[in-house]
């Protein structure tokens, strides 16, 4: 199976590659439209800031390509947020796959949220075989509200989405590559979908 990670200068991609390697998968890091379009699995990573991320995607035509993909796509962290219509971060327009707006955590909690939080999930799809109320590692200042597409939620100044799914598009707010065994299981599930 051919798995690619979209290369648009998004933070710590090395750890993601290593996590996939531990599952026996050599993922290619690329911004090549044809390679991405032809892959069996596409991972859309993200760490950093929304405005410059969207700029980089547009530069390579990836903003047009990603929504047109038909194979399973996994957005991670900012990658998940950019699957949405728009984000408060720099008032940026996202890829428009999930119709919602990403918003910032209120000042009543420390921002960014940094650390392991409890994830309550659907037990299906990406979460098959993963213990209910497991811990996942999160680092983020903006969040996706609860929507019909929500497949897992957590609580930080209220409930919010830590996983979404629409058709072939999956998004997780946490970093599966940094979330120990539960995270590794989630990546394995994605490869098997």
């Amino acid at each position: 199976m051919n798995t690619v990670i979209i290369d648009y200068d998004a933070g710590n991609v090395k750890s993601l590659q290593f996590a996939l390697e531990r599952l026996g998968v050599e993922a290619v890091l690329t911004d090549d439209i044809e390679l991405i379009a032809g892959a069996d699995r596409v991972i859309f990573p993200g760490q950093g800031e929304a405005v410059s991320a969207m700029k980089k995607l547009k530069k390579h035509g990836l903003d047009q390509l990603i929504p047109s993909l038909k194979q399973p796509v996994l957005g991670i962290c900012l990658g998940m947020q950019l699957l949405c219509d728009e984000t408060e971060e720099g008032q940026t327009k996202g890829l428009g796959i999930v119709p919602t707006k990403v918003v910032k955590f209120p000042d009543s909690v420390k921002v960014p949220q940094m650390g392991w939080n409890i994830v309550t999930h659907s037990n299906t799809g990406l979460f098959q075989g993963i213990q209910q109320d497991c811990y996942m590692y999160l680092v983020h200042s903006y969040f996706v509200p609860i929507e019909p597409e929500t497949s897992a939620k957590s609580n930080y100044a209220g409930e919010y989405s830590v996983a979404i799914n629409k058709n072939n598009f999956y998004g997780v707010q946490f970093h599966p590559e940094k979330s120990s065994k539960a995270g590794s299981q989630l990546l394995e599930n994605f490869l098997k979908i």
Binding site: G11, N12, K14, S15, F18, A19, E21, R22, Q47, G48, E49, D107, K110, V111, P112, Q113, M114, G115, W116, N117, I118, Q131, D133, C134, Y135, Y137, L138, V139, H140, S141, N155, Y156, H175, E177, K178, S179, S180, K181, A182, G183, S184
Partner: protein
């Protein structure tokens, strides 16, 4: 609920851990990767690697080590020690570090914090601060606490937050090495001054010190070195006790 983090810190010199460890079944106690893996299995929530070597080869050795750690670890880790430019940080982040800790370089050139957070995002910029109480005022110190400055801790934490730090690692030099507990009063005050996570460091000697720093010090995470390295405190037992004290903590054998 977001859990409090337990963070073992590994001092690195020329690619090896400096302090000895007395873990059984660990053949090479000086290998940071083996030690890091051990801590991960035991339930550490995160790791910090502080490079204290001063050789010319340092950068390359550290970059190689980061790559080996990233290949073996599935929890987040921070790397610090002599990071003084965006270029330094980029190599370490590219090799798989999740966060970069800056200390003296940020005090000398505060713009470095802005540059790092603009280039990589606040989430991977940890500002480490060593401070000591002098005449009733907490003063920032440089170079591992050797050089005093005229900067007050309360001013510096506010400045680093504004400049884009994503987290603060506060070491009290008055408490470090004493094993008498963390600087909880100062920590609690810092929590009222900034709205980014704070890691407590310096003073860990017993399990109740961790409970105290989360409750009284309002710390988001607690870092320690020797009590973990010498096995005086074992992470699974520590976490069990913290959970009994009603502190939000990640228990790994139940929910790994």
């Amino acid at each position: 609920m977001l859990t409090k983090r337990i963070i073992p810190c590994l001092d690195i010199k020329d690619g090896r851990t400096v302090k000895g460890v007395n873990f059984v079944n660990l053949r090479d106690a000086g290998d940071p990767v083996a030690l890091a893996k051990r801590y991960t299995t035991e339930g550490a929530d995160e790791l910090v690697f502080l490079d204290i070597s001063a050789t010319e080869q340092k950068r390359k050795t550290l970059a190689d080590l980061v790559l080996r750690v990233a290949a073996a670890l599935d929890i987040p880790f921070t790397v610090g020690g002599g990071v003084s430019s965006v270029a330094d940080a980029k190599i370490l982040l590219r090799n798989g570090a999740d966060k970069i800790a800056v200390n003296s370089a940020a005090v000398r050139t505060p713009e470095l914090i802005n540059e790092l957070s603009t280039a990589f995002g606040s989430q991977c910029v940890v500002v480490a601060i060593d401070a000591k109480k002098i005449d009733g005022r907490w003063m920032v110190h440089l170079v591992g606490g050797k050089v005093p400055t005229q900067i007050e801790l309360k001013d510096w934490v506010k400045e680093v937050e504004i400049r884009g730090a994503g987290e603060i690692l506060f070491t009290s030099m008055d408490h470090d090495g004493t094993k008498n507990g963390f600087a909880n009063q100062a920590l609690a005050e810092l929590s009222t001054l900034v709205n980014i996570p704070i890691i407590a460091s310096g003073g860990a000697g017993a399990t109740n010190h961790f409970a105290d720093t989360f409750k009284l010090g309002k710390a988001d995470a607690a870092l320690a070195a020797s009590v973990f390295h010498y096995g005086e405190i074992k992470i699974p037992e520590l976490k069990k006790i913290l959970k009994q004290e009603n502190i939000a903590i990640r228990i790994t054998d139940e929910n790994s």
